[in-house]
């Protein structure tokens, strides 16, 4: 029952965000970058649904364009982190021995940096732009993926079907791709879902600090940062991007929960 409600609410919220992002790629009510000084700081109206900012730019258009940026960054980052993380995790977990020990020592040292700090450090090297952000966040999250995947693989490799695959003469590589990998999909799917939320939050936080996608390109984080001076006089400026981040995270958290409950039914029913 609860799983279904979670899925429904989470699904609707995520559909809204993805829909807004996809629409923004083709159309927004106004040009999100168009400055119109005669329409500065207009409260929400029938023309500007979410009002305008300090340069007279339409907030709704900027929120939509921000959704596109955030979604693209988050998707690319998750793909990068999951791709490399799964590779490292499967190889180390399956082969064990010295490869495992050395790679995991490095992995643990990387985990010794909180993710966002690692991303920040990498951003300094690669520079503040969309692809720098993807690279930085992606690299920052690889270690956690590798850890989870390795743990899963360690338990899978002890299963009889892996032994059977070995006994009938399949190569290590074949067993790994054909039997270990598919069985690690479920936990990776759960991880990828929550990671989408973490990345979105980290991206907003970095943009908020001025270390993410640079203005004038809109992101929810840099819109929120820019709204600060007008916090009292133009409340809508901060509300729009803030609510967007919160609702997106809520959607992804709910979806993540229902996915986990479905894959791990022990937690769902008492």
């Amino acid at each position: 029952m609860r799983v279904r409600t979670n899925t429904a609410i989470g699904g609707v919220l995520m559909a809204l965000v993805l829909g807004a992002a996809a629409t923004a790629a083709f159309w927004t009510p106004f040009d999100p970058l168009r400055v119109n000084l005669r329409a500065r700081l207009q409260p929400p109206s029938s023309l500007y649904w979410l009002g305008t900012d300090e340069f007279g730019r339409d907030v709704l258009s900027r929120v939509m364009a921000g959704a596109a940026t955030s979604v693209v960054v988050a998707l690319l980052t998750v793909t990068l982190a999951i791709g490399f993380g799964v590779m490292v995790g499967v190889v180390t977990g399956y082969l064990r021995g010295w490869t495992d020990r050395i790679i995991m020592a490095i992995n643990d040292a990387l985990l010794a940096f909180p993710g966002i700090l690692l991303a920040l450090a990498i951003m300094i090297v690669v520079g503040a732009n969309k692809f720098g952000l993807v690279l930085a966040l992606g690299l920052a999250y690889i270690p956690s993926v590798a850890r989870v995947v390795r743990g899963t693989v360690l338990s899978i490799r002890e299963k009889e079907y892996i032994e059977a695959s070995r006994v009938i003469g399949n190569s290590e590589l074949y067993s790994m791709l054909r039997h270990v990998l598919p069985n690690a999909v479920a936990p990776v799917a759960v991880l990828a879902t929550s990671m989408f939320g973490w990345v979105l939050l980290a991206e907003s936080a970095l943009s908020f600090l001025g270390l993410g996608v640079p203005p004038p390109a809109p992101t929810w984080g840099n819109m929120l940062a820019a709204s600060r001076p007008y916090m009292e006089s133009a409340v809508w400026l901060g509300m729009a991007p803030g609510l967007c981040i919160a609702l997106t995270l809520l959607g992804i958290n709910l979806l993540g929960d229902s996915l986990r409950d479905r894959l791990d039914p022990r937690m769902a029913h008492g």
Binding site: R2, A105, I106, D108, A109, L110, A112, F113, P114, G115, I116, L117, L120, A121, I122, I124, V125, G127, L201, S204, A205, F208, L209, G210, L211, L224, S227, R228, M231, E232, V235, G238, P241, G242, I245, A246, L247, L249, L250, N253, L254, D257, M267, H269, G270
Partner: protein, 314 residues
Amino acid sequence: MLGYLARRLAMTVPTLLLVAIGVFTLVRLIPGDPVQVMLGDAADPAQIAQMRAQLGLDQPIPLQFVHWLARLLTGDFGHSITDNLAVLPLILERFQVSAVIVLVAVGLAACVAVPAGLIAAWRQNSALDLAVVGSATLLLSIPSFWLGLLLLLLFGLKLKWLPVIGYVPFSENFWQAMVFMLLPIATLTMIEIGVLTRMARAASIEVLRLEYVTHARAKGVPEWLVLGRHVLPNAFAPTWTLIGLVLGHLLGGIAVIETVFTLPGLGRLLVDSIFARDYPVVQGCLLFTAVIYVVVNLIVDLCYPLFDPRVTVA
């Protein structure tokens, strides 16, 4: 027991070494010549060469690393490029601000989250459970910087109960300092309640299904004693580990909170020195935070046997 402690302690040495290598490499990967940055564009080649020799940058990289490491061990983190202050005292001063916020927030959050999670698990799938999980998920989904801005708008600008901008060190006036810390601490506490409640609930559910709980109930132990004596201590162990992770995570993410509330903490120092291209400070902050994170997790793990004596056997 001693064996566990020794093993866990020994594990931190290679981790710390790799952390040092990581930070060292990263800072050397930053595009641009640090000497050029320090001396500006007008410097002539002779000056640059002299500075390079003075800083030891003309030596081979591995040798530079060894020297750098040796200096680190004596507490010499170098000097800031912008104002030539020693980096370590600067970091320590700023760290106090961040540490107070993070420690108090996590402590308060744990006090609320652990009982809340336990009660939700106890009546799993009831309306109460739904309310607890629902609020926790909601709190988890609000970005700390937005929540901070909202609290600032409500208590600072609308109600005018609390100051919007400013900071007083604890050493100067404790109560005054507390007033400025109230909102940042409240913000982080609310966010962390979300994370910790969900963890405490999940851990409690696992424990509630174990046979010793059924056994305790069967022999007539009152329900509050079952929860307090048998479930809580066992459900607390995994939550305790998470508290360590949360502490480190907060230290990494503290910069946004310090930006919202304009507090001179470690996170703000890091971000400001990134903008100023003050690499010795950046390097110091990264290293310091990573070391604190390692140490916090070490302390958490060393205390772990107090909650779960089984780990020392493994």
